[in-house]
Amino acid sequence: MNKPLSPARNYRHTMQEIGYVQRKQATQNDYDRIGFMSGLEVHQQLDTREKLFCRCPAGKYEQDDVFDAEVIRHMRPTLSELGEYDGTALMEFKTRKNIVYRIKNETTCTYEVDDTPPFPVNREALDIAIRISLLKKLNIVGEVHITRKQYLDGSIPTGFQRTAIIGVEGVISLRNKTVRLIQLSLEEDSCREISDVGHWRVYKTDRLGMPLIETVTYPDMLNPDEVAEACQIIRFLNRSSGQVRTGIGAARQDVNVSCRGGTRVEIKGVSRIRWIPELTHNEAFRQWALLHIRDKLLKKIKTPTHWEMISMESDPSAFGCRSRALKGLKNNGLKLYAVKLPGFNGILSHFTQPGKTFADELSDRLKVIACIEKPNMTTHDCLKPLEGEEVFQKVRKHLGCRAGDAALLIWGPSDDIPTALETINERCRMAFEGVPNETRKSFADGTTIFERVLPGADRMYPDTDSAPIPLKDEHITKLGEDLPLLTIEAYHVMKGWGVPEDTYHYIFKNNLFPQLKQMVDGGEDPVFAGTLLGHSMKFVEGHYERASGFRYSLIGDMLKALRNRKLRRELMTLILPVIYVHPKMDLDSVLISIGFKKMDADQILSNTGFLREKFRAIRRKPDREAEVNWLMGQLREHAIGNIDLRELRMSLEQIIDHKE
C-alpha cells in the first residue's frame, strides 16, 4: 500500500478527483455532469399592521438587550398526525437545549409565548396572500386549513409554526424558461436568535408571529444562475403587489439543492440572492464529494453493517497533548475520548467544500447535536490538527489503529459525551449511504454547515385551535381584479420601449414599473423615464439619506409640474436628491435650492463672446471641438432645464463656425 498523502495534499487530490471546478469556470456541462438540481422556498413578509394570529404590532423591532421579561422553555417531540415521531424531533430532543425568550411588552403578548390560543387569522394578510397566489397562477384552495409545522429548535415557542396553504401548482416565467411552483403558504414568522452557546439558546420575540408567505418551487433550476434568477423573479412578483415588506430580513429564502444520486439538502435563511449561485454550486459539489466518499468506503469495507467505531475515555496527559484546548480539559471539567474510525484514514481529509473536509462534517454535528462548542474534536487527518504527529501516534497506538484507520480525539462535558459518540457513529455510518438529509446554515463565503436533520412531511398536523376558513369564489374573483402586470410581462414591455436593461433590477426591486408606466402613459419618453428611475434614482439612493416622507410617486409629480411650467425634464437629475431628502418641498422651493434661473436661449448665449475670449487666453492651440466642449461646460449650469443641451451645442457650433 502506498504511503497515505498528507491531509493537505489529500484535500487537493480529492478535490481534483471529483472534478471540482470553481463557479466562475463552471459551464452547464459541469452542472449536467453532476446532475445539479435546485428548488427554492422564498419567504416574504407581508406589510400588515398587526401580526398573523394576534393583535400585536408587526414590524417593530427591538435591540438584543432591550427586554421586559424572560421565559424559559424546552421542546419535546410529539406524535405527528400520521403516527410517527419525526426524525428531527428526536434529534432536537437529544440536544436538551434551554430556550430563553426575551420579551418586550410592546411587541409580544401571551399568544406569542404560547400562553393564549390563537385569535382568528389576520384577514388583511390572508387577502394579500391570495392576491400574490393569483399572480403566480396557483390553484387557490377551497378552504384554508391552519396546520402546525413542528420546529423543535425553539424558534417558535409553541414548538410549531402555524401555517396554511393558500394555493398549489402554479408557475412563474424566467427569461428563458418557466419554473413550476409547488405551493404558496401563509405562515407566522419565527423568533430572531440572539445567541446559541452550549445548552443555551436565546431568542427575541419581536418578529415572531408576523405574517409571511412562502413560495415553494419544484426543483426545476439546473444551474446556479437560474436559481438566482428564479428567486429574483419571485421576489419581484411579491413586490409588484405593493403589499409586502422590504428591508433587511423582510425577504429570505431556503434553497434546496441536490446532485445526481444525492439528496435534497436545504440551505436555510439565505438573505441575499447574490449568495445563491456560490452556495448552490458548492452544495452540489459537496454532495458529489460525499458520493465519492461513499464509493471509496464501500470499496474498503464490504459490509458496512459490520463497521464498528471504537471509543475509550482517555487522559490528555497520557498522550502528551500540548494544545491549549486539550491541556485545559481537566480544569474545565471536560472529558476526553479517543475514537477509532476503521477504514476512515484519508476520508476525514477528503474535500467536501472549499477549505473544508469530511472532518468538518463531524465537528459541525458535535456542535449542533451534542451542544459542544468548537473546537470539540481533532484528528491527524484534517487540514489543521490541534496536536502534533507524535500525539496522534500515541493515540493511534492506544486505539490499536491500523494504517487505513483514522483516529479522533473528542471532548466535552461528561453529560454530553454519550450524545457526542452517538453523533460521530451515526454520521460515519451515513457516509456509507451517501448524502444525509439535512438543513444547512449558509455563510457569505459560499460554504455551509450542518444545522438540523431535514424534517419530513411527518411534522405536520392540524391546528386544533383554529377552524377552517372557506374561500368563496366571489371573494377570489374580486381580489384578482386589479392584479399588477407579471414581472416577465413588464420586462418585455420595457424591452419593447427600449429602456436600458441595466435599469430593470432597480425598477423591479422597488416596484417602480407602475410609476414608469404612468410616466410613459402621460407622454414621457420611456428611455428617459426608465433611466431616470433606474439610474438617477438609484444613484441618489446610494448617496443621500432618505426622508421618511419620500414616495416614488413624487418623481412623476415633479416631472408633471416641470412640464406644466414648460421647464425641461433634464432638471430632474438635480431635483431628485432634493426631494429625496426634503419630500415636502414644492417645485418653486426645489428650483431655488438647486439655483435654477429661467432664461431663454438668447440670454444663455449672450455671454458667449466674453467666454470665447477667455478660452482663447487659456487654450494651448486652436481646436474647435475643445472650444465647444469648454463652452458647454461653462453654460451647462444655466442651460439645464431651460434648453435642450443638444440644441445648445448646435447653437455654439454655429456661432463658432459663423464667426470664423
Binding site: 424572560e70 422553555r73 424546552h74 410529539t78 384552495v141 377551497g142 386544533t464
Partner: protein, 461 residues
C-alpha cells in the same frame, strides 16, 4: 362490523365522496374549477360544514377543496394512518417508589382525534413511558383509568369514585398517588378529595396541563414529572394541586386543595394559592416546603374515606339587580344548600332578603362567601350584613366560593341537621378557613410600576 369509510363527512361532501367512490384515507386526484389537487382524503371534523373535503397534500399540509368546485375525483390508492403513541413496557426499577396514576380524562397525556379535531387522552403506562420516558427515572408507575370525562363534566359521582379508588390504593400500599385531571375544575376536585380523603398517609397529587401534550411546548410532561416526584418522593401527605409555578419550564408549585384556584383561562401558571402562600415548590430533584405546617408522610396505611356528597347544592354569583326569583327557584327545586358569592364583604341587595327568609323557612343552608376571592366575609360591619345573618345566612369566613360549595355538598351529604352542617362548615380543615391572612397571601401585582417591572425582568416569568 362495518367500517366507516367517510368519517365525519355529511351532506353534500358525503354525497360527492360516494359519487366518485373515494374513501377517507384514499389518495385522490381531484379536478376542480380552481385547478387540480392531489392528496389523501382526511376525516372531517363533525362540527365543520358539509361544503368541503379535506386533503393532506404531498407536502404534508392540509387543504380543503370546495365540493361545489369539484368536477371529478378519482381514488388512486388507499393507506390508513396508524395513529398510536409508541408503547413500550414501563420498566421496573427496584428502590424507586411505587406511584399510581389515576386517570380521569383530561389532557395530561393525549392525542388528536380527527373527527372532532379534539385532543383525546392516551393513558397506559406503556403509552406514557413512550411519551415521557423520564418517568421511569422517578418512580415505578402503574395506572388505572377510573373513568374518562372532560374536566367540565366532573361531578359528585366522580368525586366519590375517586375517593374510593384512592382509599383502595392506600390500603394496597402505594407510595403516592397522582391524579390526572383536566384543569378547568381541577380545584373543585382537589377540594372534594381533601374532604373525602381524611388523613392520608401518602401524597395525593392532582395534575393537569394547560397545553395539550400533542404540542412540543406542552407543560404536560414536566407537570407529570413534577407530580410523580412529589407523589413518590415528597414528604407532604395531603391532597395537593401540582402545576407550573411560572410560565417558564422551571418548577411546580404545590397548592393545598382547599386554597387553590384556576386564575387564567390559558396561562401555564394559572393555579394560584389565594389568601395564603403555597405549600411547596417542586422539581424533579426535590420538594421544598414553603409553608411549614403540613401533614407529613406516614408509614401506616390508615385513611378515612368519607365519600359523601349532596348534589342539591348551588352557587349564586350575586350581581346588582339580582331578582329574588333566582333564590326562589332553587328553593322550589328542592335545593338543600346555597353558597352566595356576594359583593364586597359579603352582600346582596335588599329585594333578595324576603327570598332568603323563605330559604331559611324551607331549611336551606345558606352560606356567604366573597366574589373578591381574597379577604373575609365580614357581615358585622354593616347593618345589612347583620340583617342577613338574622335571615340565616352564615358567613363562611375566607373560604373560597368553590371550596365552600364543595364543602357544603360534602357536609349535607353526611347530615341534614343544619347545626351539624354549620359545625362542619365552620371548622377549619386544611386551611379552607385560615385564622389570619398574611400580607403575602394577597399578591396581585400591577405591571407598569418600575419596581414590579424590575422584578419581572430579573426573575423569569
Amino acid at each position: 362490523m362495518t367500517e366507516d369509510f367517510f368519517q365525519g363527512y355529511k351532506g353534500e361532501a358525503l354525497k360527492t365522496l360516494k359519487k366518485y367512490n373515494v374513501r377517507v384515507w384514499g389518495q385522490a386526484n381531484v379536478e376542480t374549477t380552481r385547478g387540480n389537487f392531489i392528496g389523501t382524503v382526511l376525516p372531517r371534523s363533525e362540527n365543520d360544514d358539509d361544503g368541503h373535503i379535506v386533503l393532506k397534500i404531498p407536502t404534508g399540509y392540509n387543504v380543503g377543496v370546495s365540493v361545489a368546485n369539484i368536477t371529478s375525483m378519482k381514488e388512486t390508492g388507499y393507506k390508513k394512518a396508524n395513529y398510536k403513541i409508541p408503547e413500550k413496557e414501563f420498566p421496573y426499577t427496584s428502590g424507586l417508589p411505587a406511584v399510581k396514576l389515576i386517570g380521569t380524562g383530561g389532557t395530561i397525556a393525549s392525542r388528536l382525534d380527527y373527527r372532532t379535531g379534539a385532543v383525546i387522552p392516551a393513558f397506559s403506562p406503556g403509552e406514557l413511558y413512550g411519551a415521557v420516558p423520564e418517568l421511569a427515572d422517578i418512580c415505578n408507575l402503574t395506572t388505572e383509568k377510573v373513568f374518562a370525562v372532560f374536566s367540565e363534566n366532573m361531578g359528585p359521582e366522580q368525586y366519590r369514585k375517586l375517593a374510593v379508588a384512592i382509599g383502595k390504593e392506600i390500603e394496597n400500599g402505594i407510595d403516592g398517588i397522582v391524579i390526572g385531571h383536566g384543569t378547568d375544575t381541577l380545584h373543585h376536585t382537589a377540594a372534594a378529595l381533601t374532604y373525602m380523603v381524611q388523613d392520608p398517609p401518602v401524597p395525593i397529587v392532582l395534575v393537569g396541563s394547560q397545553r395539550s401534550s400533542d404540542r412540543p411546548s406542552s407543560d404536560a410532561a414536566l407537570n407529570l414529572m413534577h407530580a410523580c416526584y412529589t407523589a413518590g418522593h415528597g414528604g407532604i401527605a395531603e391532597v395537593m394541586v401540582c402545576m407550573f409555578g411560572p410560565t417558564s419550564d422551571e418548577y411546580a408549585l404545590l397548592h393545598r386543595g382547599t386554597r387553590v384556584r384556576k386564575m387564567h383561562s390559558s396561562y401555564r401558571s394559572t393555579f394560584r394559592t389565594l389568601g395564603d402562600i403555597p405549600l411547596a415548590k417542586a422539581t424533579t430533584e426535590g420538594v421544598i416546603p414553603i409553608k411549614q405546617d403540613f401533614k407529613s408522610r406516614r408509614k401506616d396505611r390508615k385513611v378515612t374515606i368519607l365519600p359523601y356528597f349532596e348534589e342539591k347544592v348551588a352557587i349564586i354569583y350575586y350581581y346588582p339587580n339580582m331578582q329574588p326569583d333566582m333564590v326562589d327557584s332553587l328553593i322550589a327545586n328542592g335545593y338543600k344548600g346555597i353558597i352566595i358569592a356576594g359583593t364586597g364583604l359579603g352582600h346582596v341587595n335588599k329585594p333578595l332578603y324576603p327570598a332568603l327568609a323563605r330559604a331559611q323557612k324551607a331549611g336551606v343552608a345558606v352560606y356567604m362567601t366573597v366574589q373578591t376571592l381574597w379577604g373575609y366575609t365580614q357581615m358585622f360591619v354593616y347593618e345589612t350584613g347583620r340583617e342577613m345573618m338574622a335571615l340565616g345566612v352564615v358567613p363562611a369566613e375566607n373560604m373560597l366560593p368553590e371550596v365552600a360549595y364543595v364543602k357544603l355538598g360534602w357536609a349535607l351529604g353526611q347530615t341534614s341537621d343544619l347545626d351539624e352542617v354549620k359545625k362542619i362548615m365552620l371548622t377549619p380543615m386544611h386551611d379552607d378557613i385560615t385564622p389570619r391572612e398574611p400580607y403575602n397571601g394577597y399578591l396581585v401585582y400591577q405591571g407598569g410600576l418600575p419596581e414590579v417591572e424590575e422584578f419581572i425582568k430579573r426573575f423569569r416569568k
